[in-house]
């Protein structure tokens, strides 16, 4: 334990404050030999990857390859699954997030998540976004909360469309708007990292394009990790791409290199549609 703490202190000293380093240079999330077990069955095998700050990293791979499972390791969402066990080290800014004394609720405020299917709370648009800042005690008064709600909706590119109906239910919005509401909700707690698990798979091409444009804007301030089944989407939105297969990280590299000249045969076969 002492070793972990010393390492954390050392990393903290050498790590520049958020937003001060060059995008893509500093490592925000780092995993070493991460394995995941569902009961006796091993689902992930020794995954080590560095995820750079303020850039988009995409996880691609066939269904069941473990990309979503691995994504959930980054904010300990696997803790909620009975019989799921994670080994190895996952560090956020050099800090081991699997430490027993770590506050998981606080961690999930720092590492936000957007899911495949838009899942707004059955509350008003305003309350959906205000929920996180409120439970984390981020604001002193209503004016501050209003400020966060408005700025989050603006950053999610939704404010202009909903400004006259903030008191209407979030569930009444269109699919694309609901997903942007979920993104606004996720960024309202000012997370460092935003995890997106197939955020566009339930959306039409226009709503998808709006979300992709939003991801491109958000990467100026957030570290984004996106799981996607669409290789074209990975190629469009991300700067780094990681390819998973059967629970193993096969290849990771610059997105351009992965999609034009992958080094591994399995990556080549998968992205060109020759798998199997």
């Amino acid at each position: 334990m002492d070793i972990v703490q010393d390492k954390t202190a050392e990393t903290a000293k050498s790590t520049p404050a958020p937003g001060t380093s060059d995008p893509g240079k500093r490592i925000r999330v780092s995993t070493r030999d991460v394995s995941v077990f569902y009961g006796e069955k091993q689902a992930m095998f020794d995954v080590s990857i560095d995820i750079p700050d303020r850039s988009v990293t995409s996880f691609i791979g066939p269904s069941g390859c473990g990309k979503s499972t691995f994504l959930r390791c980054i904010n300990r969402m696997n803790d909620t699954i009975d019989g799921c066990r994670v080994s190895g080290v996952v560090e956020l800014d050099g800090e081991d997030i699997n430490r027993p004394d770590l506050d998981v609720v606080e961690l999930r405020a720092r590492v936000g998540m957007v899911f495949q299917k838009p899942n707004p709370f059955p509350k008003t648009i305003y309350q959906n976004v205000a929920y996180g800042p409120r439970i984390h005690g981020m604001t002193k008064n209503k004016a501050e909360l209003d400020e966060i709600v408005v700025s989050s909706l603006q950053r999610a590119g939704l404010f202009e469309e909903v400004k006259d109906r903030l008191d209407q239910p979030g569930t009444g919005l269109s699919g694309g708007q609901q997903q942007r509401l979920c993104i606004a909700r996720a960024i309202a707690t000012r997370p460092e990292v935003l995890l997106m698990d197939e955020p566009c798979s339930a959306l039409d091409p226009i709503a998808t394009a709006i979300i992709e444009e939003l991801i491109d804007e958000l990467r100026e301030n957030f570290t984004i990790v996106i799981v996607t089944h669409s290789m074209q989407q990975a190629a469009r939105v991300s700067q780094k791409t990681a390819f998973f297969h059967l629970g193993k990280l096969i290849e990771t590299g610059d997105t351009e290199q992965i999609f034009t000249n992958p080094k591994e045969q399995k990556t080549q076969d998968y992205i060109t549609g020759r798998f199997g």
Partner: protein, 233 residues
Amino acid sequence: MVQARSEHIVSSYEEELTHLTRHITEMGGMVEQAISEATSALVRVDHDLAQIVIQNDKDIDDKQRGLDEMAVSMIARRQPMASDLRRIVASIHVATDLERIGDMAKSIARRTLQISDQHISPQLYSGVRHMSDMVLTQVSAALQNVTALEIDDAIRICEKDEEVDALYMSLFREFLTYMMEDPRNITDCTHLLFCAKNLERAGDHATNIVEAAFYIQTGENLIDEIELRRDRA
């Protein structure tokens, strides 16, 4: 070098890729014939054959347009990745180079129509014939590399182009000598000099094709590979 080893899950995509390569091969055959016939027309001063070469160039142009349309359609519909993407994009380049070689053949044929068969020494023609044979070998070898790359062979083709360039310079000097010897040779020798230049440029396009072939198969730049090998040596 990572290769696409098995066939696509979508068989129609696989068929289209095969069709694209076949299209390049067919176009290559047409271009080789054009250079060969243009040279024959030139050395025999055969105006009828020269006319045929000029007419056939339209078919080469059509073939290139067809390939462009096919490639653009595949990019739009299939959204190719990795080796498939390289193959489709580089095919557009190869077709452009082949079309340019066809233009060189047409240019030689047009010159042929302006050359009279008097006053020119047969040894002048033999230099151009030799150059044409060299260029044809280069084009043919380059096209073989598009379907099956042999790295050593690809490098040899690039190096061989220097010999084509040297032969052009040698012919250039030779033509100058003939022109100085007898001013009546100037017109025909000038035509021949331009024909030799056309062949030299066709040789350059052959090296472009082999560079594209190298990129298709490896994703790397052939010139970088040659420099790397020179540094090692």
